[in-house]
Assembly symmetry: C2
């Protein structure tokens, strides 16, 4: 079969097919040949005709069934994949094809997994509803912070900043994505000290508080650290899913530990940012939900990250829309957020999301407690339809935050 | 500290610093601020000043010490990282920075790990010399094939094609990157049948033959499959290091099994292809060597993959040049290769590399045995300085291959 033989506009995708949507820009060949090449190289074809193809192999060909403008839709028979093996699935659909010389650019924009494939994975253990039950917070966004400075604080200072954030009004305290177990703040010591801060904060505030511990490491060490979190009565772990990778993420999820999995996407921008080449974040989001994370960073609409509203919406849809009964993943907005941005965030995300602010809390002129209060005040005001300007008149911490950052979108 | 405070042209990188070279294109801010932002966001800074920074934290700042044209060099104190934890290191240096709105483009072009960091990983167990001892082939490139069609062949046909390739003259038979354990060719059955083919081929040819089995899967399953390869007297496993991820790769290496690790890079093109954004392949290569793979795909110079000669050279240098005494990784050329390309390949790569040809062997009009013979003939001729045209006169298989593909670069 030649590349063009993998194109068939009359093909109707079946209900067990994996369906991918690609942006395709050919180099020196026709669009049809280029799109056919993508289907070929991820199924049973290659650059030349083979003597080793058996008749029974033909039915496993992937098919380009739609070609409009730069967009190709490709259906892959489910038999091409090993069910329950995400690395295998990713190697097939987003593997060698990006390296082909005959493609100027190629972007995997979307993917639809068939139910049979989705059912071969665990999916989220908790999801939005499980998280809300755990936190006993049902009618507002969750409010979180990331300990800042992101690296360098010693354990006792780390635990103190966490305590301040919680008593100020944060539900969640999260390690930053590159804090794991450095000498200045080793893992076990940090877990113990910070969960002790959590216990005190819970006692003082009467609210449930959460510490999301970064367990990013080699797989066995990640499992060991996760068990340690459990042993110290922690309920959450955080994983940098892209730098760890999907094999380790699957391993963690398949232990079925009583831990909520917070997924950080550090590094995604290297391949999601260019609208013409790479892989979209929503594809990552669907893969992560399928494997079974409970929370995922999806962008911010406002703040310091690059994604457009449309992309963030796609990411939210990917983790919350119906998908073979898989639980909904909680969208997390994080990156350059501060109290003045809360109305825009809640307008976009609604109530079912987490606001994570680092600098926007610990940068507050009056310190972390005041910063957390200001954030909580911003959420409280927006919930009841009061403007932040109005609410500031009787809430000093918010007033200061608005003075500091009111002009920064 | 503001972003610009992370720039200091007078800073001299110390011998324990990690040093990265970035291509930086700012959006709406100065180059100095943009480069400083990259250093800040991967060390102790963020978008706003913090109240929580302690004096002892300052010494952990990363520093932009050189800014020339679009190129920024950044030094990171080793204390920022957890030694022996590759996911953590990657989360820091190639994490959030790609998502910053104030950067139009950002590419991590190179990285230098300090000796202390390199020593915290195992590095390759076998490397080039170990592989040569195992194969007892010292004075020529290794010749390998990938079973084609890449997916769909049933186990007995898979093992037969492998046998044909070995008796034709291949040293190595490799699974394709997306063959793991599909129903048409389940893992254990395949390992047993194909290693049986190998034994027969070894007996008939008197040469050492190698089967590189693709164990790409969730971590524990990958370890189980690797053990199974060992149990059946296999010597090699193959891992899709990017779709599995570095946590699982590290786990596999740290088992220290008596298995050569062949690293496939499926998916790299999603973030390595754009010269202005993403991460270069040589950075991936250095990380993989540090963790400890023995062989790695580095590009082809010729064939169906996109990389330039310069990039392929960088990749080769990354895996073979002196690096704190780490063993040399064997460069693997794979993608659209066939016998007519052998002189160009050997001119570029020399002798210490593996030529992997799939379609260029199984596409040979007279079948796999003839295809493997033609490839071996092309190598033999080139080794003694005889042109393929000349050698074709007395070697029918090569003659046919030259007729079929002589014009395809």
């Amino acid at each position: 079969m030649r590349y063009v033989d993998f194109v068939n506009p009359n093909y109707q995708p079946g209900e067990t097919d994996v369906v991918c949507t690609f942006h395709v820009e050919p180099r020196g060949i026709s669009l049809k040949e280029a799109a056919g090449g993508v289907a070929a190289e991820s199924s049973i074809g290659t650059w030349t005709e083979l003597t080793t193809v058996k008749p029974y192999v033909q039915k496993l060909a992937a098919t380009v069934f739609s070609l409009e403008g730069d967009t190709a839709k490709i259906a892959y028979p489910i038999e091409l994949f090993e069910l329950g093996n995400m690395p295998n699935i990713l190697s097939s659909i987003q593997g060698n094809v990006f390296g082909l010389r005959t493609l100027e650019n190629l972007r995997l924009n979307d993917i639809q997994f068939p139910t049979q494939l989705l059912k071969s994975f665990k999916g989220p253990k908790y999801g939005v509803d499980g998280i809300r039950r755990l936190l006993r917070v049902y009618n507002r966004p969750l409010i979180g912070t990331i300990i800042k400075p992101k690296l360098g604080l010693r354990t006792t200072d780390h635990a103190k900043v966490a305590y301040d954030a919680w008593v100020g009004g944060c539900d969640i305290v999260k390690d930053d994505e590159n804090l794991s177990s450095q000498n200045f703040n080793p893992f076990e010591k940090r877990v113990m000290a910070t969960l002790e801060s959590r216990d005190r904060a819970e006692e003082e505030t009467g609210e449930k508080k959460i510490y999301m511990v970064n367990v990013t490491a080699e797989t066995n060490e990640m499992l060991r650290r996760s068990q340690l979190v459990l042993d110290h009565n922690g309920e959450y772990v955080m994983v940098d899913i892209l730098t760890c990778g999907f094999a380790a993420l699957q391993t963690l999820r398949e232990q079925d530990m009583n831990l909520v999995i917070h997924a950080h996407r550090a590094g995604h921008g290297a391949f999601t940012k260019d609208p013409r080449h790479g892989v979209s974040m929503r594809v990552v989001a669907k893969a992560a939900r399928t494997v079974g994370v409970d929370q995922l960073h999806v962008g911010t609409v406002v703040g310091k990250m690059f994604e457009t509203r449309e992309e963030v919406q796609e990411n939210c849809d990917a983790v919350t829309q119906e998908m073979a009964g898989l639980k909904r993943v909680l969208p997390v907005a994080s990156g350059g957020l501060h109290p003045a941005l809360v109305p825009a965030l809640m307008e976009f995300f609604g109530l079912d999301f987490a606001i994570q602010a680092g600098g926007g809390i610990h940068g507050h002129r009056d310190g972390t407690v005041a910063g957390a209060k200001a954030m909580r005040q911003a959420v409280d005001a927006t919930l009841v339809g009061v403007s932040l300007e109005e609410h500031s008149k009787e809430h000093h911490e918010l007033e200061t935050a608005m003075q500091m950052w009111g002009q920064i979108a």
